[in-house]
Each structure stands twice: as structure tokens, then as C-alpha cells.
Amino acid sequence: MLLLLASGSMYAQNSPEMRRSGITYTSPGTQALQADDSQNPGMLWVRDGAQRWTIPSGDARKSCADCHGAIATMRGVAARYPAASPSSGSAASAAGRVITLSQQINRCRVEQQRAPAWPPEHADLLALESAIAFESRGLPMAPPAQPALSAAQTRGEALYRQRIGQVDLSCHDCHDRLAGKKLGGNTIPQGHVTGYPIYRLEWQAVGSLQRRMRGCMTAVRAEPYAWNAPELVDLEAWLAKRAAGMRIESPGVRP
């Protein structure tokens, strides 16, 4: 038993005391960019989203604020997602299904504002998600205890450990076993999802966790899962659990 435990802990970068935010692997310049709200480019998306919060939209001519009140009421919300969606009384919505924060924003948009859903990575969607995530900055990631979410986390961890692509690597291979090492010119981080949506210097824009994951999949020459595919939602659910207790730093800045 002791032997089993010892071999199981070989790559135990997941143990809470060894976890490090990706920002700690970046250059001092990138760290300074994230730390200063007047310099952090992600703050442009946060401010844009905070404005959109109060603008009436859709056939219902309702703003987010009309239902929710000030955006400050969103404190703690981003820390809980992905989560099982609450029942809305609408036959079209799948209550109990695990959804991401951006899917929940779109759900509000369709069901409450009666507007067409934004496509993945739409600037307005990223802005609202950034503004909502910003309200949780400094709070610990706190996925709720829900049976549906627990099942998603379990599926997500299996996907995290599955080797994929022509290069035949799993998320686990790099982010648990090789964090801190240089892959080409880039330092591999532990992959804790505390800064999303992130401003990525390579993108020159804010992007979602799904964009980041799909980029990794393409890099190992795998077929990326489609936007909002159940597998990507499951991976997001697992990654939120993996980072549970770590402080949210949105908007993160990364190379």
C-alpha cells in the first residue's frame, strides 16, 4: 500500500501546496502587465463588459442589470463555474446539465433577453465573461458539490489523462510532469485555470479557456473538440476542480 502511494505521488504537482499559478512562470514584464490594472490589456474587455451589463438587448429590451442588479452582485459566480445549470422553467433548457460560464451568459441572452446566442469567442461574450470573472478576482475557485458536476469532473480527468494526436501526448504528460521545463522557447505551466478569460500576448486579445485548450490540441496534431463540445465542458469542469482553492486572478496575462 505504501509502495502504491509512493508511486502515485511521483507526479504529485497537483497537491495543493505545490500548485502555482501560470503567471509565476512568466517573465517579470508579463507579471507587471497583469499586476497593474492600468496596464493590463484584459481590463479593456472587463470595462467593455461592465458597460454591456447595463445596455438593454434583444427583443425583450432587457439588460443584465434589469434582472441581476449591479454587476457587483456577480461576486463569487465565476468561481463556481462550470456548474449544473439551474432550472429555468423553459422546456428548451436542459436543467441539470453542466455548463460553462459563457454558456450560462448565452442562456440568459436567449431566454431572458430573447436575443440570438453569441458564437464562441464573440467579442461581446468575452467582454461580459471578463467583467463577471473580474468580480470574483481574489476569491478561491470553488466548484460546487453537485452530482452532475462530479460526474463531469471524473470524465474530464479521464480526458485530461488521455494521450491524443499524432504527437500522442496528454494534458497530464506536460502540465503535471514537465511544468517549469522549456518546450521550445515557452515554459510549461502547471495549467491551473485561475486567470480566464486571459489576455494572451500571442493572440493580442482576450480568449477563453476553450480557445487555449483547442490550441494545445492542435499543437499535438490532434483534432480539437468542437466549441462547447461535452468533452471541452468536462475538461473545464475537471480543471476547475484541479484549481479549487486557488485565487482567481482574471484577467490573466500570458505569453
Binding site: G165, Q166, R221, A222, E223
Partner: protein
């Protein structure tokens, strides 16, 4: 073109339980299949065409194609952003024979299933391989031989 099963430099260090069965090697996309029992090397070259160290050097320097320098340091000062995940390949020719290199390129996970390095010349089993890469090895037979030829010059 079909290759005869490569002869081993010396008998396998691994029991049948350690590495089950024989390695199926995809010689080229959809083309022939050769088989080898994994030992410490694959003695026979994968092609009958003479290998070129010059082409091998260019391949190693091309990160998008060969991926080598993403993980390995190589003695090519003009190649920037070399990774430090695995072995520094300076002096590789003095440390491994061509046969040993061939096995380590063809399928390093035959020696160490936990190896980060993917099999460069086997295509199965893989999951979710992108359309552009499906059923293709990372390097073809001649490219493997060319890379070995260059690595052998590093003494």
C-alpha cells in the same frame, strides 16, 4: 516496398511480458508494414536509399516538421528557442549506435512506456489524430534514416 524484419543487434533485454508482441511499424502512409521485436536497437536501416546527414541536420533544425528542438538541446547555435525537456543531443553519436537511435526514434515507448517522446515511425494506437496527420508517421522512413545519419556525426 516491403522490408524484411530487421535483425536485432543483440537479443532483447525485455521479456515478452514487458513488451507484448511485436512492433507494427508503418513504413509509409498506408504502404508496407515491417515488424521488429523490440530489443535495444533496430539494426537494419528502414530504407535502402543512402541516408544524408545534411538532410538530417536540416530536419532537426526544422521545429515545425521534426519537433526535435521543442524538447532537445542540439548543437546548432543558429536554432533559437531549444527546449530543455529531454536529453541534450550533443555527442549523441558517441553515446548511441545507429541501431539504438533507430529504435529510440521509431518507438521510444517500447523501451519506456512512460516516455514523453512519441513514436516517430509508428502510427497506432493514436486517438483523435488531426485530419492532416492521420495514418502518417511523424517522420517517414528516409527522414528517420537522415536524422540518424546526422546524429551519428555528433561525437
Amino acid at each position: 516496398m516491403a522490408h524484411p524484419p530487421p535483425r536485432l543487434r543483440r537479443p532483447s533485454r525485455f521479456g515478452a511480458a514487458a513488451v507484448a508482441g511485436r512492433l507494427a511499424l508503418c513504413a509509409a502512409a498506408g504502404a508496407s508494414t515491417v515488424a521488429a521485436t523490440p530489443g535495444d536497437g533496430i539494426a537494419e536501416p528502414l530504407t535502402t536509399t543512402a541516408a544524408s546527414a545534411e538532410r538530417g541536420r536540416a530536419l532537426v533544425a526544422n521545429r515545425q516538421q521534426s519537433l526535435c528542438v521543442l524538447c532537445h538541446q542540439v548543437p546548432l547555435p543558429e536554432v533559437r528557442f531549444q527546449g530543455d525537456i529531454s536529453t541534450n543531443l550533443a555527442g549523441a553519436g558517441a553515446r548511441w549506435s545507429a541501431a539504438q537511435m533507430r529504435l529510440r526514434l521509431v518507438n521510444p515507448r517500447a523501451l519506456n512506456p512512460d516516455s514523453i517522446m512519441p513514436a516517430y515511425f509508428t502510427t497506432a494506437p493514436r486517438s483523435r489524430v488531426g485530419v492532416a496527420w492521420r495514418d502518417k508517421p511523424i517522420l517517414d522512413a528516409q527522414q528517420i534514416e537522415d536524422v540518424i545519419a546526422w546524429l551519428q556525426t555528433l561525437r
